[in-house]
């Protein structure tokens, strides 16, 4: 079945656009299944990075000269490409950050300044550490209270418990759109609607969703949405925070410096408007421009097709892996993306990952920066294969063969 879709989808011609995929490691063809950690880059993005430093480099928003104007135009154009892609109403609602972690910290710090003692924040049991720790720090700073939506054995949030946690004290709900460890797609529309009914704002951690499905800020009606460039086929060190203008306007600046000011005197400084108020200092200019390029690449793709194809790959992988004795899938939500986390009874994920590596298979092992999930299942970690649209059924077969061989060696 995966083959039919692969045919419509023409994976081979897509793979040709990703140079890293065609290499060998330890004398074996590389099988890259660590897309949840970071995605490989298409040639158009790599070329744009090279072009930027070869002929376009200049600082932005400051110079009157040709190169500076051109770089500023391209940087702002990238912002508009991203705005269009996520269907944000206004371009100044799209802030460049350093990544998901940068976006969450910005909101936790700046929106956090509007909170006071006794205010409540809700996160979930399946958050990445970067959507836990900034809120704990805020709670310590401001005396707020952190509540956690529990999950069931399949790795689905228990919505009844979420409803019980919501009250007029709830000021902010920060949840992941898709779990990086379990693959669960959370019912974010419902989460947002309920939060809004209680008068709370919602931040979605989009690190694992934007590369897998269409995301529409207006349809979702979330207040903040943040993601990392490197997981969406763009460069590292750059990411985006979308925020509703009326909230961003009310929030104090996060960092002070150049670009974010209107006028500076020693007596009083006034701040620049959006988005610059939140973009102090020289940004990752090449990163922003090339992230725009990554979205131009994605715009040429059939998003519905991608979703379907990736799901097929993951389902095929799960059913083949489950033939292996003692193997359990961790994360069996009814709605999942192309993440397959597993453990094998009696075997350590680290051992399996080490042997897979030597067979050319790149997966991630460990707790995936979600230690509370590991505690919940009582396991030291999982082996995680995470698929992108450039992966193939043959690669799934290679994974399954390699896992079988590793398990035999370790038993």
């Amino acid at each position: 079945m995966a083959e039919d879709i692969a045919y419509q989808f023409d994976v081979e011609s897509i793979r040709k656009q990703f140079p890293t995929l065609s290499q060998e490691v330890y004398g074996k063809q590389l099988v890259y299944l660590d897309n949840g950690a970071t995605a490989q880059k298409p040639k158009t993005v790599i070329d744009a990075i090279e072009r930027y430093y070869e002929v376009e480099n200049a600082n932005i928003h400051r110079g009157v000269h040709f190169l500076s104007q051109q770089a500023t135009d391209k940087y702002e154009e990238a912002r508009r490409v991203i705005q269009r892609y996520i269907n944000a109403p206004l371009e100044e609602e799209v802030l460049f950050t350093t990544g998901t972690t940068g976006g969450i910290n910005l909101v936790a710090y700046s929106y956090g300044e509007l909170l006071s003692e006794g205010d409540e924040i809700i996160i979930s049991a399946m958050e990445h550490h970067s959507n836990i720790v900034p809120w704990q720090m805020l709670c310590e700073r401001k005396g707020c209270i952190l509540n956690v939506i529990p999950m069931n054995e399949s790795g689905e949030l228990i919505m009844d418990e979420y409803r019980k946690l919501l009250s007029s004290k709830t000021k902010l709900v920060a949840v992941t759109h898709i779990s990086n460890t379990l693959g669960t797609i959370n019912p974010v529309k419902e989460i947002i609607r309920l939060a809004h009914d209680s008068g709370a704002v919602v931040l979605l951690d989009g690190a694992q969703s934007i590369q897998h499905m269409p995301v529409d800020m207006q349809a979702l009606d979330c207040d903040f949405y943040t993601f990392s460039g490197h997981k969406v086929f763009g460069p590292t060190g750059v990411g985006v925070l979308y925020g509703k203008k009326e909230l961003l306007d009310r929030m104090p600046p996060y960092q002070g410096g150049g670009d974010m000011i209107e006028k500076v005197t020693f007596e009083k400084t006034t701040y620049n408007g959006l988005p610059h108020k939140f973009e102090a200092g020289t940004p990752h200019i090449a990163g922003g421009i090339c992230l725009g390029e990554a979205f131009r690449f994605l715009e040429t793709m059939d998003l519905e097709g991608i979703q379907h194809y990736e799901k097929e790959l993951a389902s095929y992988a799960e059913s083949e892996l489950l033939q292996i004795e003692g193997l359990r899938i961790i994360g069996t939500a009814a709605k999942k993306t192309s993440v397959v986390s597993f453990v094998i009874d009696g075997l350590h994920p680290f051992d399996i990952g080490t042997l897979l590596d030597k067979q050319g298979i790149a997966v991630r092992t460990g707790h995936h920066c979600t230690q509370p999930i590991m505690d919940f299942y009582g396991i030291p970690g999982t082996v995680r294969a995470s698929f992108a649209f450039y992966n193939t059924k043959e690669e799934v077969d290679a994974l399954v063969r390699a896992v079988k061989r590793s398990a035999e060696m370790l038993r």
Binding site: Y26, H348, P349, F350, D351, T354, L355, K358, Q359, T365, G366, H367, P380, G381, R405, M409, L410
Partner: protein
């Protein structure tokens, strides 16, 4: 056998493997064959928490020689521990503290002792050397 001769011995043993999987097959066998630490000694103060695998290390000084036993929940880590102990156990404190464990790199396992690997092995080696330094000072 001197510490250096023990390292050379291991390097010779590994020289016959040119395939990675064969090399690991051997390390896994070493790991399986070595029940290295009493369950009673697997206490929290002996635990070295790696990001991925956990390591327990017990150190002792007997008749002026360092004695080490160690264990891990991951079998590959345990196999490598076996090699480290083969080289360091029974050596004088001074010899352990100043040892250059080049055999790990020579047999292609340097990645397991890299600071980013976080399997507890690097911390274990550091602890072994620290305990030897302490013993040497006494």
């Amino acid at each position: 056998m001197t510490l250096e001769e023990k390292q050379q011995d291991i390097i010779d043993e590994f020289a016959i493997y040119d395939d990675w999987m064969d090399k690991y097959e051997y390390i896994i066998e070493l790991g399986k064959d070595l029940p290295m630490i009493d369950e009673a000694k697997k206490t929290d103060d002996r635990l070295i928490e790696g990001c991925q695998s956990r390591v327990w290390l017990a150190t002792d000084v007997q008749d002026g020689k360092m004695r080490f036993t160690a264990d891990s929940d991951a079998i590959i880590t345990k196999g490598i521990i076996g090699l480290l102990i083969r080289v360091l156990d029974g050596e004088t404190p001074k010899s352990v503290a100043t040892s250059d464990l080049h055999f790990i790199g020579d047999i292609g396992l340097q990645e397991h002792l890299s600071p980013t690997r976080a399997n507890g092995l690097l911390s274990m080696v550091k602890k072994m050397k620290l305990s030897a330094l302490k013993a040497a000072a006494e």
